[in-house]
Amino acid sequence: MSIATPPSPPPIVTKPASAPPASEPQPFAILGEYDNVTDVVHGAKAVRAAGYTKVDVHSPFPIHGMDDILGIKPTILPWLVLKMGLIGLTTGFILTMYTMSGFTDGVFRRPDGVEVYSENWWSFLWVNLEPYQYIISGKPLMGLPGYIPVMFELTIMFAAYTAVFAMFLLNRLPRHNHPVLKSERFRRATQDRFFVAIEAKDRRFDPDETAALLTDNRALHTELVYDDED
C-alpha cells in the first residue's frame, strides 16, 4: 500500500472544504494490478459486486466476457457504419447518375435557360456541375449497371472510414494525457499485466477501502493515480 495521504491545505487558501486547492493533484483512480486473466476477471467481478460503477479494466488484449462484467453497453458504431454506408451508396448514385445523365435520358436543360454564365453568384454551380452527357459505345445515359461498381466502392469507402474514425472518436482517442498513462507500472498494461481501475468519481470510492478491496481480491499491487490537469 503506497497511498500518500494528501497534505492538509495551507490555511491561507479560502475555498469550500470539499474542494482542495487547485495546485493539489486530485486522485483520478486507483489501479489494481493482476498478472493473469483469471485473477483480473475475479477482481473485476468482486469490485462490481461491491457496488462500484465507474470501473474499467485495462488489458493487453480484449478479454471476452468483460463487457458483461463491467456492464458495457453495446456500441452504436454498427448503426453509424450502416448509415454512412447508405449515404455512400446514395452519393455514388447521385454522382454517377447526375454527371453522366443529369437525371435525364435526353437533352438536359438548365433551370435558368440557355445562359451558362449568368450574373448570379451561384452560377458557378451550373458551370462546374454541368453533366457530361456523351453517348459512349451506344450505352444509355442512365445506364445504372455501369455505375454499380462506383456506387459499391463508395459504399464500402464511407462505411469503412466511419468504422475507424468513429471508433477512435467514441473512444475519445487520441488522448495522450490520460492519468493512467502516468503510472510507470501501467506501462505493462499493454504487455503482460492487467489493471482494474476504479475512478475517484465513484460514489463508493475511498482510497484505503477501495485499495483493500482490490488487494483482498488477488490484486498484486495497488496504486493511486492523480489527475493533475485540474
Binding site: D35, N36, V37, T38, D39, V40, V41, H42, K45, D56, V57, H58, S59, P60, F61, P62, I63, H64, G65, M66, D67, L70, T75, L77, L95, T96, T99, V127, N128, L129, P131, Y132, Y134, I136, G146, Y147, P149, V150, F152, E153, L154, A159, A160, Y161, A163, V164, M167, F168, L170, N171, L173, R175, H176, N177, H178, V180, A189, T190, Q191, D192
Partner: protein, 499 residues
Amino acid sequence: MAAIFQNPSPTIVPSREVDNTSDDPRYRQPLVTADNDLTSVTEIVGGCAERNPSRLWLVLFALAVPMCLAFFSLIGYLVLTGVGVWGNNQPVSWGFPIINFVFWVGIGHAGTLISAILFLFRQNWRCSINRFAEAMTIFAVCCAGIFPGIHVGRVWVAYWLFPYPNQMAMWPQFRSPLLWDVFAVSTYASVSFLFWYTGMVPDIATLRDRAKGKIQRFVYTFLALGWNGSARHWSRFEKTYLLLAALCTPLVLSVHSVVSFDFAIAQLPGWHTTIFPPYFVAGAIYGGFAMVLTLAIPCRALFGLKEIITMRHIQNCAKVMLGTGLLVMYAYAIEFFVAWYSGHHYEQAVFLNRPFGSNVFGFWLMFLCNCLGPQVLWFKWARNNLWVIMFAAMCVNVGMWFERYVITVTSLTRDFLPGSWDAFVPTWVDYAMFTCSFGLFFTLFLLFLKFLPVIAIAEVKTVMPQGHGFGAEGGHDDHADDHASADDAPSDPDTKEDA
C-alpha cells in the same frame, strides 16, 4: 504462470522449430509453440523493433534502396521523355505497365484474405501472419498504383481521374472499367491501410510502453493515439475490426473483379469472357499466398519468430496456395474449353495461338510454373521442407506474372485483322522498371520489419491459453484443448467458480 514473474531475459534466444503440424483430431495443436507466455511473446515481437538491425537486414536494405531510387529515376526519365520509352505501341498499347499493375495488385489480395476473410471464418492461425500480410498488401498496392498512374502519360494531370467540379465541364467516364478501377483501387488502398493501422494501434502502444529512447518514445506515442487498453475501448475496437473485416471481404473480391473488367468488358478475343472475375480473384490469392510464403519463410528465421509463425502456419499457407492453384488451373481449362465450344473463330484462333503460335514462351512458362511446379506440395515431405515450399512459391511468383503477360500480350498482338497484327518488344526501361519496383516494395517492407510490430501481438495473445483465463467461455470452445494441454494454463481453484 511462474514465467510471468521472471524478468524477461535481455538476450535473444534463437527461436526453436517445434513440429506442430500433426493433424491428430484428439489434440489441438498450439498456435504459439515452445511454452511462450504473454511476456515472452511481447519480448519476441517487441525485440524485432527495438534491437539494432541485423547485418543481413542492413545488407538487404542497402540493396533495396538503390533499386527503389532507380525506380523513381526511371519514372522521372519516363515523365521527361514520354511513354515512348516503353515498348508499348499499337497494337500492344497495354504492355508492361498493365501487366505489372495486375501482378502487384493481385499480390495484395492475399493480405486482405488473411486479415478479413479468415477472420470471418474464425481461422485463428491467421493472427500470427496477418500483420505482415497486410503490410505486404499495402506496399504491393503502392507499387501497383504507380504503374497506371504513370501510364496515363501526362502524370501531372493524373488527378483528372477523380471526379471534381472543374472549369472544363468535364467528368470522368463512369461507364468505363478503367474508371471503376480508380475507385476500386483507391478504396482498396485506403481501406486496407486503415485496417492495418487500426489493428496495429494496440501493438504500437506496446512498443510505446517498452520504448527506451526519446525519439522512439515520441514517435510511438504519436502513432499509438494514447491507447490504454481500456475494456470499453477494446469493446468498440473489436466491433470495428469485425465490421472492417465484413466490409473488406466483398471489397477484396470486387477489386480484382474490377481489374478483370478492364479486360473482360473489351471485345477482344481472349479477354471478353465471363469467367474473368472469379479467375482473376483466384489467381490473385494464388499469387498473393506465394508472396506471403516468400516473405514469411525468411522473416521467421531472421527475426526469431519460428515459435509464433510456426511450421503449421507455413503449411496452411502452402495448402491454400495449392487449393487456389487448382482453381486457377480449372479456369485455364475452362477458357480453352469455352473457346472451342463457343464456335467463335477469333476466340479459337487466340487460344490456339497461345500454346502453339507466335509467342509461346510466356504460355509454357506460365504452365510450368503455375500448373506443374506447385503440385509438389501434395506430398507431405514437400510441405515439411521449407526449401521445397519456397521453390513452389517462387514458381507461382514467376508464373503469375507470366499469366498476366499471356493474357495481355497474346490477345493484343493477334486481334481480328491480320493487318493489325504486330509483335510486342519490351525495352530496357520496361524490364528495369519492373525489376526496380521490387526495390520500392522491399524498401517499404524492410522498414516495416524494423520499426513496426511485425506480429499482431494483441491478437496472438488472444489465441494463446493465457488469453482465456476463465475456462472455455464465450465461444472459445475451440480452445478447450489448449487449456487441457498447456502446462501453464491457470490452475486456480476458483477457475470453476468464475466460469
